[in-house]
Symmetry: C2
């Protein structure tokens, strides 16, 4: 019986909310939105002590394959799970489970996002180790983030304590309204769903077979094609037809037994420029800006200058508050912190008028 | 007796409030802040029907001579009054009066700013013609702008009606507080001082001799040097030592008789980015921005893109209000409309840290 651990890092996101830094060919996970390294690079580095570089898989799109490998030079191209089409998380995670199960059905797979920020690395690894140990006992396991505030932008997991580190997950709850979010926070038994899942490869294969039989059939066809050395061709025809469903809805919510490890390691999903600005180091007026910027009568602003090239170029703010300013070579975004979610509409407007080279 | 008219356009201003569009070598009057042409170009074009291109004089600094001539190709270099040092308006206007008086002492001189905006051109010219006619009768004359609101940022002229188009100016009043500005507006006898003065050359020479004898002595020395063909050398040694005083304080306030023509011709002093934004054409959300800009949930903003070069570059505003955004090749300014005056502090900060190439 194998006691190895694999990581599948889901790195197919588009991240239009980080325009103009993020583009179709340079999405959120490839940007250094917190710290000096791309989020994907940080995500992989975080799990290397648990699984080693040979058991890391990166699920992404074909258009991102080269940029992804460039960010992760220790990985080989065969470690990319290149999805011919975006089909949500269930086909992605289930495919990874099938791939691992071909050789190591007892190995534990950690399915993890590529675009979150983790402040407490040792706390993160300890939580992952507990989740891996739980999964190795044959129970599909998730991590629930201990909520710090009544957030209405996340889904929740209700869980029951067991007296051990590993709780019993009871149900997944959609994004609540404010009143329910406050009840959740007060109850102490509701956790944020951060999309982190742990399972033995064979357990996920079995769960998919039971709850998503259409998906399982497609993936078994892929297994057959792989045995014959023709997975790539089969993938192109089969994958785009797989049912597009999230792993939460398609599998997790239907599992009779599911474990959850509470996690409290400074997790941040970097959902928008607002959260990025919150993480940045601030001056006494709560501004985060390059040293070259000039700030007069301004507070609470976040300035990111991603322009290439040299020369003196200065950004000056005067009498403004709570703005996020992002400069790239071909675009300037000025967005109020409270409207950071609406950056999507800017991208939609650009697409709508045919400016695809700016998106 | 000459009935010719000269214009002296005062074009030596620095205009730090229009940074980053304005620079030491490209001050406000050389910028197209309202309309497609530089303000100086517009100022000269406005007076050509009254004086012709041969009797236009441009008072400016040596560092601006080339740029000034480039904007005014119909003028010769001998029509520049190049001040070796900025000494406020009295030396500038008095020097111009002396220069004109050398050949046409009876000619009327119109001393006018170079950096204002005039909406109603025919009303402007009719007012100037009345002021010129008044000056030709031997009375130094000014124009008073009919106030549209209780402005606290301008000096006022109190005047007494005469039943004619030309009023009698009674006194100059410093910038008032709000309460006094409201009294001024209600009284109907207070007008904004727009720095426009009209006089026969010989009358100004005499007025300066009486009220600013030290200045008169320096300018008579210059006249002597000019007769000997050596004005340029004398200017360099004499001008920087002339008393630095405004024509209002040094001469106008001390005149026993002064005429004023009320003016109501859509005058705007373009004092800051706020006034520039007020003059610009607006979309239904009160934004003025290039057609290439993307505006989402934003209103009351003014965007000016002065960058050179081609390529697709987009400015996107999202969820912001009442901002002025100015882009140049080397700088970006984001200023709240209500803090447009504080742009000076940005320039001071840049000078303070040694970034003279950005100012």
């Amino acid at each position: 019986m194998s006691d190895t651990t694999h990581a599948v890092i889901m790195a197919g996101g588009a991240g239009t909310r980080f325009w103009p830094a993020s583009r179709r060919l340079r999405p959120k996970q490839l940007l250094p939105l917190a710290g000096d390294e791309a989020l994907l690079r940080q995500a992989v580095s975080r799990v290397l002590p648990l699984c080693g570089s040979k058991r890391v898989w990166i699920a992404t799109g074909a258009h991102l394959a080269d940029a992804t490998l460039a960010a992760l030079p220790e990985l080989g191209r065969e470690q990319l799970l290149v999805e011919p089409a975006a089909r949500n998380t269930a086909p992605c995670i289930a495919w990874a489970a099938h791939v691992v199960a071909r050789t190591e059905p007892d190995a534990v797979v950690m399915a993890l996002p590529s675009d979150h920020h983790i402040a407490d690395l040792s706390g993160y690894r300890a939580t992952l180790e507990a989740a891996v140990a739980s999964a190795r006992r044959g129970v599909i396991t998730t991590i629930g983030i201990k909520p710090s505030h009544p957030e209405t932008g996340y889904g929740y997991i209700e869980a029951a304590p067991t007296g051990e580190q590993v709780w019993r997950a009871r149900r997944f709850v959609e994004k609540p309204d404010r009143a329910r979010a406050e009840e959740f926070l007060a109850a102490g038994t509701f956790f944020w769903n951060a999309g982190m899942f742990f399972f033995r490869a064979k357990d996920m294969v079995a769960a998919v077979a039971e709850h998503l039989p259409e998906l399982a059939r497609g993936l078994c066809e892929l297994d057959d094609a792989a045995r014959r050395g023709g997975e790539a061709e089969a993938l192109a025809s089969i994958f785009p037809k797989l049912p597009s469903v999230s792993i939460d809805v398609g599998v997790m919510e239907r599992m009779p037994e599911l474990a959850m490890v509470p996690g409290d390691f400074g997790w941040n999903d970097l959902g928008s420029w607002l959260t990025v600005s919150e993480l940045a180091a601030k001056d006494p007026a709560s501004n985060s800006a390059p040293a070259s910027a000039v700030l007069v009568k301004s507070s609470g602003n976040h300035v990111t200058d991603l322009r290439s090239g040299g020369g003196k170029r200065v950004i000056a703010l005067c009498g403004v508050r709570d703005l996020v300013v992002v400069e790239t070579d071909d675009a300037l975004l000025i967005v109020h912190r409270d409207e950071a979610q609406a950056v999507r509409e800017v991208v939609e407007a650009l697409v709508g008028r045919g400016d695809r080279d700016l998106t």
